[in-house]
């Protein structure tokens, strides 16, 4: 099973994502903002990143951009999970290099399906 990093400033969101993904056997690590996520990813390789957009210190778009600049994470799938649903924001995410966009609240079954699809 895969190792997945979830980045969200809300503890309950991280808990829900972790609960959903570990129920099918994935290993889930958590970060509360983009900055912490980058620190965590320095010495560790993950198979998938699920990130929020609005976060303190470093937002999701910046995180996606920074990850895409790294050789290790050039092709790692990155899913954005956010309350934002406007087209402009989505475009911003797409341009930054995100693999997919999920609008909160997520449905566990739907999230697992998407994760399965992007992990291949």
């Amino acid at each position: 099973m895969a190792t997945i990093l979830t980045v969200d400033d809300t503890a309950s969101m991280r808990q829900m994502i972790s609960f959903t993904l570990s129920s099918v056997g994935h290993e889930v690590i958590q970060a509360c903002d983009g900055h912490e996520a980058l620190m965590l990813l320095k010495g560790k390789k993950v198979d998938l990143v699920i990130a929020d957009i609005n976060m303190p210190n470093m937002d999701g778009i910046t995180l996606v951009k920074s990850l895409r600049e790294q050789a290790d994470y050039k092709f790692t799938p990155i899913l954005v999970l956010t309350t934002e649903s406007q087209e402009s924001k989505r475009q911003q995410g797409k341009v930054a290099g995100a693999t997919g966009w999920i609008v909160k609240p997520f449905n566990p079954e739907q999230l697992l399906n998407v994760v399965k699809k992007v992990l291949g």
Partner: protein
């Protein structure tokens, strides 16, 4: 003007006249009606005339000014008494103007004071609101975290419980290995087979006893036949004895020559007697054998009947037991499928809870979204207030606590008192509702 002010007099006259000249030609009520109409008309006319009267002088002045100002001034001079009033007119204007200016300033001052007051009150309200919103965000975050953790723990425990129950129940449904029954179903099958085999054995033994009884019947019949043969033997012996006796008599009659014959006859009689004795002894033994056979026959009959009964009862019991065990097995299978169905329902409920538990993130984002425009408005208001204060420092003399409210207004929101969260959600929730102090949650007096 004076004549119009006595309109009631004119009305009375009008009414009297109309009454007087019409009463001669029409009934009195018609005359009265027409008189009243006339009075009404006159009254309306009088009011209109009075209104016109009040507005005419200004219009007249303008007309006169435009027409011939000099002439009019002369007339006015003639009408008015020669005095210093005309010199005083410009002074009155000045007084009026200064009064109007004072009035305006007072109104502006009042407005400014009210504006500053509103600003102050908004600043206070906004701070309270901001604190409350942040407290709500923190509290919901804490509460949701607790709910999520508890929920996760509950689900994990429920999963373990369900798995153990399934393992236990599925064990009774598993396959047999090495001839040892592993499942309830196999156990039923094996025990059914063995009990049936045993019942069959018992039935076979019962059958055998029935056969033995039948055989014994034959043996008994034969003993009776032997009895008959013995009678024949006895008869034969008697006849031989009689023949020997006759031979003896005949030998005696012959005399000496018949002596040898007599010895033979005596010997034959002795043999016949012994034969009789043998026959008697055989009969005695045969009687004993028949008594024994009869007893065995009875015992065997009882035994075979009891065996059969017992075997049939065992067979019935085995069938009943098997049915009961099969019923239990069905119940177990139903429970397993019920547990499976409940597990599916729980999975659906879990999905719903996971979706619902994300509300906290959404609501706190919305609440935080409210803070931004509020802070912007507060900042704008702060600058406006500062400008107002710089404009007129005297404005705030009468406001209570006016020394620090403006500085308070620009407080850094981040420096606000944070709600300290504990590990006890009940306590935290009480904090949200404004309950303070360390008293007990429930107190009985």
């Amino acid at each position: 003007m004076t004549s119009w002010s006595r309109w009631w007099l004119w009305a009375a006259v009008g009414m009297a006249v109309s009454l007087m000249w019409t009463v001669a030609f029409v009934p009195w009520w018609a005359a009265l009606g027409s008189g009243l109409c006339a009075v009404l008309t006159l009254t309306v006319l009088a009011f209109y005339a009075r209104k016109q009267d009040e507005t005419t002088p200004r219009a007249g002045e303008e007309v006169l000014e435009g027409h011939d100002a000099k002439q009019v001034l002369e007339q006015v001079d003639a009408l008015m008494s020669p005095s210093k009033d005309i010199e005083q007119i410009p002074q009155v204007d000045e007084v009026l103007q200064s009064m109007a200016a004072d009035n305006q300033r007072r109104r502006v001052d009042d407005l400014m004071r009210r504006w500053v007051d509103v600003g102050q009150r908004y600043a206070e309200a906004a701070l309270v609101l901001r604190r409350e919103i942040q407290s709500v965000i923190k509290q919901t975050e804490q509460a949701t975290g607790t709910i999520a953790s508890s929920f996760e723990a509950v689900i994990n425990k429920a999963t373990i419980q369900a798995r153990q129950a399934m393992e236990l129940l599925e064990g009774t449904q598993g396959a047999a290995s090495d001839g040892v029954p592993q499942s309830l179903k196999d156990f039923i099958q094996v025990s059914d087979e063995r009990l049936n085999k045993m019942a069959d054995e018992v039935v076979r033994v019962a059958d055998l006893s029935v056969n033995m009884v039948r055989e014994l019947d034959g043996v008994q019949n034969r003993t009776q036949a032997i009895d008959g043969f013995l009678l024949d033997v006895e008869k034969l012996a008697e006849q031989t004895s009689l023949l020997a006796l006759n031979a003896e008599i005949e030998a005696a009659r012959v005399g000496e020559h018949g002596r040898g014959f007599s010895v033979v006859a005596t010997e034959v009689r002795r043999l016949s007697k012994r034969s009789h004795e043998f026959s008697d002894r055989i009969r005695v033994h045969l009687k004993e054998v028949r008594t024994g056979l009869s007893k065995t026959h009875g015992d065997m009959r009882t035994l075979s009947a009891a065996d059969m009964e017992h075997a049939l009862k065992i067979k019935d019991d085995v069938i009943a037991l098997t049915r009961s065990l099969e019923g239990k097995n069905r119940e177990v299978a139903e429970t397993v499928s019920r547990i499976n169905a409940i597990s599916k329902e729980i999975a659906q409920d879990v999905q719903n809870v996971v979706v619902s538990l994300q509300f906290q993130d959404i609501t706190s984002q919305k609440l935080s979204g409210m803070l931004e425009p509020m802070d912007e408005l507060r900042s704008t208001l702060y600058h406006l207030m500062q400008e107002t204060v710089n404009l007129d420092k005297g404005l705030f003399k009468n406001l209570p606590g006016s020394e620090n409210w403006l500085s308070h207004m620009h407080d850094d929101p981040a420096a606000e008192v944070e709600v300290k969260l504990t590990k006890n959600p009940e306590q935290d929730l009480r904090k949200v509702h404004g309950a303070t102090g360390s008293g007990p949650a429930v107190e009985l007096f």
